[in-house]
């Protein structure tokens, strides 16, 4: 009941951002897809095979709509990560509501879990579901002559995960009570390193592993900071 009350509160606070992101991605991504289907342009996609393979690289011809949509997905996912992080971890500091939030008959970790859980759900609902809808639409036989590559679908999810990593970085920056601004935003610099490293990976599994390890480091720091910081 207490956790549910916290979830409701967090969800209500994140709802505007969740809706804006979902609508923005649906409109911009859908529009990009529609325009590109009409123009019929394609995109030559470089594909690298594991070392030792008979063919080292080849170029896959795909329809650019999903690439264009992916750019929007990347951009909106990062903005959503920043917005949710600021809403959940910067705003209580500015509005001085931490005291009211923390003095509850529930342990601190549960309060943090409610925040993180709602943010993860927000990413899945707003971007994940819309991405699935767009991909499903593009996969319909009558829409494109070449069916979209399943790898693209997974890459979309990695872009969504990148947004969640940005959220974790913003959360840690919000919780960090460092006196110097540069120190305070250091977690975001770490996120930038994770994103650059992830993007430079050819193998999806490696990209996912980089993202996972980076996120776990951020998560452990968030838990440690939240349990030990002063409010």
């Amino acid at each position: 009941m207490r956790f549910l009350a916290l979830l409701k509160k967090e969800f209500r606070e994140c709802l505007p951002w969740l809706l804006i992101a979902a609508i923005a991605f649906l409109v911009l991504g859908g529009l990009a897809l529609r325009l590109m289907i009409q123009s019929g342009s394609t995109f030559s996609y470089p594909y690298r095979l594991p070392p030792g393979s008979a063919i080292s690289t080849f170029r896959l011809t795909v329809h650019s709509p999903l690439i264009t949509t992916g750019v929007w997905l990347f951009f909106i996912s990062i903005v959503l990560g920043l917005a949710l992080g600021i809403r959940q971890f910067f705003l209580p500091h500015f509005s001085r509501t931490w005291g009211f939030t923390i003095h509850r008959s529930i342990n601190k970790l549960t309060i943090l879990c409610a925040k993180l859980f709602v943010a993860a759900i927000a990413f899945i609902i707003s971007l994940g579901i819309v991405w699935m809808v767009i991909y499903w639409y593009a996969s319909l036989p009558e829409i494109l002559p070449f069916p979209p590559e399943p790898r693209l679908f997974m890459e979309g999810w990695i872009l969504i995960a990148m947004g969640f990593t940005v959220y974790l970085g913003t959360a840690l920056a919000g919780l960090n009570k460092a006196r110097w601004y540069t120190t305070k935003v250091f977690p975001l610099a770490f996120v930038l390193v994770i994103i650059v490293t992830t993007v430079s990976q050819w193998k999806l599994s490696t990209a996912f592993a980089v993202m996972l390890i980076g996120s776990l480091i951020l998560l452990s720091q968030i838990i440690h900071t939240f349990l030990n910081r002063e409010f």
Binding site: L4, G99, R104, E230
Partner: protein
């Protein structure tokens, strides 16, 4: 002997190199209404946040309802009501939403009828959002939210700050409702002495992070005295009177602030110092507090005060 519900041992807090609270020792027994008074930046909010485990002490410790403040369990927090400074609540929630939210954390204790009574008493619109309420109304919602779960200990950080006189009175009357319930302990900080005088039975004075007085209100009222002495010539240089806090000198006058000196001793000293006239100035609690916490040679605020 009454059970102690709030106690601190050498509670100390530094913010970087700035000392905010200096070895605070305090024991508040059950059923006590304690006014925690001090000027701005005296260390009141720091002390309260340390007691509630929202800040970490540099040294010392605090216990609330027998539990270390740094490890307050959810069960203990459930027995403590807290009214934050400035009545910071979730601005987007309506009063009804906040009630629902708060009730979830006190499933067994929450008193629906008491909350409804308080909302009605304060004439608050239940469906109005917090961001649309005035400062005073937010204070009233804050108090109702803190009182409805029937807390054993109510801790309030400057609850009447920024409220007009009428709202303040209404707020204090709401507080008195709780006080009338036996066994409830209230610890509230304030710099409005009238409020403290109205509801407290004990006063703790903090100044620059140091506890300067911890006694009953009557004891404080009796202890702090201002004496004016007139002399035919220069006042004596040596002031060997018991309980002297500080003095102000003018050409032929002395103004002494004394702590705990009885009237007979004042008379004897005035005679021995050859004062031609002496009088004990009547002070209200606010005057006493100001004199008690004023620096010995406080600076003039404006140039024209020189005359």
């Amino acid at each position: 002997m009454k059970e102690t519900v709030l106690e601190t041992y050498g509670l100390t807090k530094y913010y970087g190199g700035t000392l905010a609270l200096d070895h605070m020792d305090l024991k508040i027994p059950r059923g006590c209404i304690c006014g925690f008074v001090g000027r701005n930046a005296a260390g009141k909010t720091t002390a309260i946040k340390l007691m509630l485990g929202l800040l970490k002490p540099t040294d010392g410790s605090a216990k609330l309802l027998g539990c270390d403040s740094q490890n307050l369990t959810p069960a203990i927090r459930q027995r403590i009501g807290y009214v934050t400074e400035g009545h910071r609540l979730f601005r987007w929630m309506s009063i009804a939403n906040l009630e629902k939210f708060q009730r979830a954390f006190f499933p067994k204790q929450w008193d629906d009828s008491f909350f409804a009574e308080m909302i009605e008493y304060f004439e608050l619109p239940k469906n109005k959002k917090i961001k649309h309420l005035s400062n005073g109304q937010r204070a009233q919602v804050s108090l109702a939210l803190a009182l409805a779960p029937n807390p054993e200990l109510l801790v309030m950080d400057d609850p009447t700050l920024g409220l007009d006189a009428a709202i303040r009175r209404q707020f204090l009357e709401g507080m008195i409702q709780l006080i009338m319930q036996q066994g409830r302990t209230v610890f509230f900080s304030s710099h409005i002495l009238g409020d403290v005088e109205r509801v407290s039975d004990r006063i703790v004075v903090i100044d620059k992070g140091v506890i300067r007085a911890d006694c009953s209100l009557e004891q404080f009222r009796e202890a702090v005295k201002k004496v004016k002495l007139s002399f035919s010539d220069c006042p004596p240089a040596r002031l060997d009177i018991e309980g002297l806090l500080y003095c102000r000198r003018s050409e032929k006058e002395l103004e002494l602030i004394l702590i705990g000196t009885d009237d007979e001793k004042i008379k004897q000293w005035a005679d021995s110092a050859a004062a031609i006239k002496y009088s004990i100035v009547k002070m209200n609690l606010e005057d006493q507090f100001i004199e008690f916490t004023a620096p010995p040679n406080h600076k003039k605020l404006f140039q024209w005060e020189k005359n």
